[in-house]
């Protein structure tokens, strides 16, 4: 598919890498955070950090909606899956996230009707095909995904589908960024901004980062050249003393966002006063619930959920990984007690979690270094 080939050209990649080398000050250490799990995945898959000079460090942020779901919410989902007559639907990676007593996959093995879907529309179709059953959709994702859930709920309402409900775990991008910037643990020089979240919300919501915190942010696409170009743009801002929002992914991202997406989200969702993020604690106004107009479709109202807060296992250092305080391999249980086939924490579950991405792509490079 020709849409991506131009952005994977190795020669161009090396050319941008050379420009990056020319843009850094020797002796200065740069810490740039990429927020989005897709960028983490690209960085490891294409070996982008190997192309960067040693004094440019990429720090992985909490842009993984699966990784930030606390164990208590997983337990709530499992409780819904065990409700009599319920068909529980969710995206694939949610199936393997550990709750306090097992995963949704374990619940399925124990007899719950848990089904993987690729879109909320698939879940609605299951509801229409099974009028005698109740279908619950476990909604996750940032603003890239929230419009999809919103449109499906609008469709369900318009078509009078009553055996469909949603347990909403959508989160928003700005509050965790603010929480990271306010955190004393982190000293960051700039951000690689999330490419597809921005397609919905635009680049404008990130203006607070230069304005209030004095850090540059460049919204980036996901191909290796996109990421390299965004890093270059950040380093140029830093060397030229500029501090602003730039849009490297302008071929797709409109600065003002997608108005229709924002409108449908405003209709279907409301902000929760606060929401718990794994590793980051409670963050104000960072999570979405269904609006009062869509209360009939709210699974948490229809069924009630335990709502018990569960602390992470003691060995788990996902919180520090999600904040970029430690690298995956610095976690005490990385690769030993915590591996993709038996994960302790969510960073290892999601293929775009920093730990899983590193485990799958990065550790061979690391082993070479150690030898």
């Amino acid at each position: 598919m020709k849409f991506v080939d131009e952005f994977r050209d190795a020669e161009l990649g090396r050319a941008v890498a050379a420009e990056i080398l020319a843009a850094v000050e020797p002796g200065r250490h740069y810490k740039l955070m990429e927020v989005c799990g897709g960028h983490t995945h690209s960085i490891y898959k294409y070996g982008i950090d190997d192309l960067l000079p040693a004094n440019v460090e990429l720090v992985h942020g909490p842009g993984c909606p699966v990784c930030v779901i606390p164990m208590g919410r997983v337990d709530d989902g499992i409780a819904l899956a065990h409700e009599p007559g319920v068909i529980f639907t969710c995206f694939g990676d949610m199936l393997r996230v550990p709750g306090s007593a097992g995963t949704l996959l374990d619940a399925k093995a124990a007899g719950a009707d848990v089904r993987m879907v690729y879109s909320p529309l698939d879940a609605l179709r299951i509801a229409k095909a099974n009028p005698g059953r109740q279908v619950v959709f476990f909604a996750i994702g940032f603003e890239t995904t929230a419009p999809s859930t919103a449109l499906t709920l609008k469709r369900a309402k318009a078509e009078g589908v009553t055996n469909f409900s949603c347990m909403c775990n959508h989160v928003t991008i700005v509050p965790p960024l603010r929480a990271l910037l306010d955190s004393p643990d982190l000293r960051l020089d700039g951000f690689v901004g999330p490419g597809h979240v921005s397609t919905v919300v635009g680049a404008r919501p990130f203006e607070f980062i230069p304005a209030e915190y004095g850090k540059p942010i460049v919204v980036a696409g996901f191909e290796p050249l996109d990421v390299l170009q965004a890093v270059h743009m950040l380093l140029r801002q830093l060397s030229e003393g500029r501090c602003e929002v730039e849009n490297q992914y302008s071929r797709v991202v409109p600065y003002e966002g997608n108005l229709r997406a924002l409108e449908v989200m405003a209709e279907v969702f409301a902000l929760r006063p606060h929401f718990e993020w794994r590793g980051l604690g409670f963050i104000s106004q960072s999570g979405l619930r269904l609006s009062d107009a869509y209360a009939d479709f709210d699974a948490e109202l229809r069924y009630g959920v335990p709502g018990v807060r569960v602390a992470d296992p003691k060995a788990c250092q996902c919180g520090e990984v999600l904040k970029g305080v430690i690298k995956p391999w610095e976690c005490k249980v990385f690769g030993t007690a915590c591996r993709p086939e038996r994960p302790i924490g969510t960073c290892m579950v999601s293929s775009e979690g920093a730990c899983a991405a590193y485990y799958n792509y990065g550790r061979f490079a690391r082993e070479r270094e150690l030898v």
């Binding site: 993984c64 089904r115 529309l121 996901f222 071929r251 997608n258």
Partner: protein
């Protein structure tokens, strides 16, 4: 039943390009380029095609108007943008 009504997926039905990605839809923030084959403007859906020929029904409310042959970026079953015009060939 319009062409945009796909069979109800039980497990993985004819979604080779999605399973091949083997990643997390939301965490990767992926948006796959799919070409529009059929438009059902009244219902706000389009039947779209991946390079390997597999088809999926896609919400197009966020990117209308849509024409046959357009390449859309699709995330979790919803088109979130038109792929850039330059060099966009599915």
């Amino acid at each position: 039943m319009s062409a945009c009504d796909q069979p109800v997926p039980g497990e993985h039905h004819g979604r080779s390009w999605q399973t091949a990605h083997a990643g997390c839809i939301t965490c990767s923030d992926e948006a796959l380029p799919l070409r529009v084959a059929v438009v059902d403007a009244e219902r706000g859906l389009a039947l779209c095609e991946h390079a390997d020929g597999t088809r999926a029904s896609v919400e197009i409310a966020l990117v209308e108007p849509v024409a046959v042959g357009d390449v859309l970026l699709v995330h979790a079953g919803t088109a979130i943008a038109h792929a850039a015009q330059s060099g966009a060939r599915a």
